[in-house]
């Protein structure tokens, strides 16, 4: 399955070294993209030109959305199909996906992290 670096938009195949060590641009956050959505995603990516500052902002925003439990130094795979960040401050939400309670973030097989936003929210609500 393909993955896309949140910072520089490069696509990587499943099992690529970069997913474990981090992208060549030093980004550690990757969007997980379903194969059938790859072409659609590539079109969207090509259509939107973001500045480096905007990319950094999106990366920061995604970290903020996901929660502070992530270690920023480890590569993390995000399944954010439910939330699209078009530009900093512009979000599209897929309510059907969100209501299905599917986890927003998946861990890759070899990765170190398992982050389930729904779980994090449950923890948060119990505090």
């Amino acid at each position: 399955m393909p993955h896309q670096c949140v910072r520089c938009n490069t696509f990587y195949e499943d099992g690529a070294q970069e997913l474990l060590k981090g992208c060549s641009c030093s980004g550690k956050l990757f969007f997980y993209i379903k194969k059938e959505k790859l072409d659609e995603m590539k079109k969207i990516t090509e259509g939107i030109k973001l500045t480096d500052k905007e990319k950094e902002q999106i990366e920061q925003d995604v970290f903020d959305l996901v929660g502070s439990e992530i270690d920023k130094d480890q590569p993390v795979i995000l399944d954010l199909e439910a939330i699209k960040v078009l530009r900093p401050g512009k979000y599209e939400l897929d309510l059907v996906h969100l209501f299905k309670k599917e986890p927003l973030i998946f861990k890759i097989e070899d990765g170190k992290y398992m982050i389930d936003l729904i779980q994090s929210f449950q923890k948060f609500s119990k505090k």
Binding site: P88, G89, L98, S125
Partner: protein
């Protein structure tokens, strides 16, 4: 044997008591429908205080707000619940809308991010609700993706629902249209801001959760 019976009775009593004590009443709906205005109306009527701030700019409530142990009375009956005000649910959140409404770009982007997280939060909390009031703006089209998704998901979860068609004081309001859109539910037209028809709302609440 006696111990088993005792334990069983205790368990039943505890679960009854617990359920009653923990009734969670959630306010759900699209942004700017008047959820917090209604929450404030309920709190003012029964506790004498406000619950949250309201604003003309959408997504003012971006975190779940809870007011515990509100007791309301109607026709000699009493109902106690924890009121949960939730962020407005939307499919698109664009900071430029907030800029147009007068916010600075940085504030607007922050608001957009918090509002996005708020939507996820509101949906997550749905499973914690015993009863839900959906607050719709009666001046707007009731057949939106957001409204239909919320209503459909509550139905699928078997959560009792009361639909409020708010802002009935405005000329453009069409409560009948809201009722026609969701014929399987009790729709009550109110003005949370001015308290119009609020008694009917409380009666509806008793019929649903009492």
């Amino acid at each position: 044997m006696i111990n088993i019976i005792k334990a069983f009775i205790n368990k039943v009593l505890r679960s009854l008591f617990k359920k009653k004590k923990n009734i969670r009443l959630g306010l759900y709906g699209p942004p700017n429908g008047g959820k917090t205005t209604l929450a404030n109306r309920i709190c003012k009527d029964w506790l004498g205080e406000d619950m949250g701030t309201v604003s003309n700019i959408a997504h003012e409530t971006r975190e779940i707000q809870i007011k515990e142990q509100i007791s309301i009375k109607s026709k000699g009956k009493e109902l106690t619940f924890n009121l949960v005000d939730t962020p407005g649910i939307a499919t698109k959140i664009d900071y430029e809308d907030f800029v147009k409404a007068g916010l600075k770009e940085k504030q607007a982007k922050q608001r957009a991010k918090e509002a996005t997280k708020g939507v996820v939060d509101a949906i997550k909390w749905l499973d914690e609700m015993d009863t839900v009031i959906i607050i719709l703006d009666a001046t707007k089209d009731p057949y939106t993706q957001v409204n239909i998704t919320i209503v459909g998901n509550l139905q699928a979860r078997n959560i009792p629902v009361l639909i409020v068609a708010n802002k009935s004081d405005l000329k453009k309001a069409d409560v009948k249209k809201v009722q026609a859109a969701y014929p399987q539910y009790n729709v009550i037209g109110i003005s949370a801001k001015f308290g119009n028809n609020i008694d009917k709302f409380y009666e509806g609440l008793f019929a649903l959760a009492g």
